[in-house]
Amino acid sequence: MQTLDQIKATLEQKITGARVEIVPNGIATLPGSLLVDNAHALAVANFLKNDSQFQFDFASNVTGIDWPERVIKEKVKVKKLVDGVEKDVDEVVEKTTPAYLECVYHLYSISRGEGPLTIRLRTSDRGQNVNLPSLTPVWRSCEFQEREVYDLFGIQFTSHPDLRRILMWEGFVDHPMRKDYVEPDDYEYEPTPHDELIAKAQRHYPQEATS
């Protein structure tokens, strides 16, 4: 398979206006993924599926990720005057990343025996603008998984043929896999609780849990 840089170059060359960004993996030895802009996602997906050099004909997995607002610490080399001499000094810069939702597709090419290629789509925030283009018209296997992402993360897929909840019932309002989901307060006493449960019990029933 081509490297991510090659794929990115090809995509940007073939699809005018497409903005593709390489997202490195947190583990350096594992391959990263391609972040595709929402406006051209459908065109990029079609190209990846139909172009003879890629032929990604199988979307095996669609996942959602909820990224709350977070602070990233980065080490940056800054030139500074130390004792009158200019030196490279490591400085920690804190960057705040705005909150957003992400949808991750794992693509395989069965005819070429290649994969996976991971592409990501990102919403602009996690409140009102949670629209993403649906890739179900390109890969039919995305239909149920996008429904699941919609159900659990609340990403609205435009042009999805049948966007309904799939695991939770109609009339359920929350999106349970979001980080800020508060589950209904239905705690039961357990003799051997997990750590998380102990914390929850202490929040709800301080005397019982600590005794």
Binding site: L167, M168, W169, E170, G171, F172, V173, D174, P176, Y181, E183, P184, D186, E188, Y189, E196, L197, H204, Y205, P206, Q207, E208
Partner: protein
């Protein structure tokens, strides 16, 4: 009522004596027809129990009925999701009396490994009266057979009249239990307080 020692003496002489309740319970305990439905992996063990190796038909319970109208026993085999719970309760309500429930496996008892999940009911005994609980994840077929034998013992000791008679012979006891509805955040209500009342834990607000 016949004296127990006299009865044993008669039995030794080859005379079998019985009474109506015993005969009635003997007939019922040996023809428990389960409702044929499985919810998760415990159902596989239930299927194994009904096959030749474990052979649940030795206990007269091999006739898995596809309709609740013909079933006596509900084996809740597997995880009950909140989406499925109303259906399970409704199926239980549609079974004719007498009816019994075996909660099979950790999930049916308490939610099991998925207890803290957003979509899993924390035990079916929140909505319907459970007669036998089988722990295990999943329980082996032997455990299901053991539960069935325990249920048979329970049926054996049922009285026909008076206090302490089983639920189905008491006209005061309900036969239907309220079916929960799917609400905006959780099932409404989250439990049936007449059935499931654990020790209340005081909250420090």
């Amino acid at each position: 009522m016949i004296d127990e020692t006299l009865r044993n003496e008669l039995k030794r002489q080859g005379v079998f004596t019985t009474n109506l309740a015993e005969l009635y319970n003997w007939g019922r305990k040996n023809s428990l027809w389960p409702l044929q439905f499985g919810l998760a992996c415990c159902a596989i063990e239930m299927i194994a129990a009904s096959m030749a190796r474990f052979d649940i038909s030795r206990f007269g319970a091999e006739v898995f009925r596809p309709s609740p109208r013909q079933a006596d026993l509900m084996i809740v085999a597997g995880t009950v999701t909140k989406k499925m719970a109303p259906q399970v309760v409704r199926l239980y309500n549609q079974m004719p009396e007498p009816k019994y429930v075996i909660a099979m496996g950790a999930c049916a008892i308490s939610g099991g490994p998925f207890k803290q999940g957003y979509n899993v009911l924390k035990g079916i005994d929140r909505y319907i009266p459970v007669d036998i609980h089988i722990p295990g994840c999943p329980p082996r077929p032997e455990a299901l057979l053991h539960a069935l034998m325990a249920l048979q013992k329970k049926i054996e000791s049922d009285k026909l009249r008076g206090g302490g008679r089983p639920r189905h012979l008491d006209p005061e006891q309900p036969s239907e239990f309220p079916v929960p509805e799917c609400g905006a955040h959780d099932l409404v209500p989250t439990k049936n307080h007449t059935l499931w009342n654990p020790k209340p834990i005081l909250r420090k607000s």
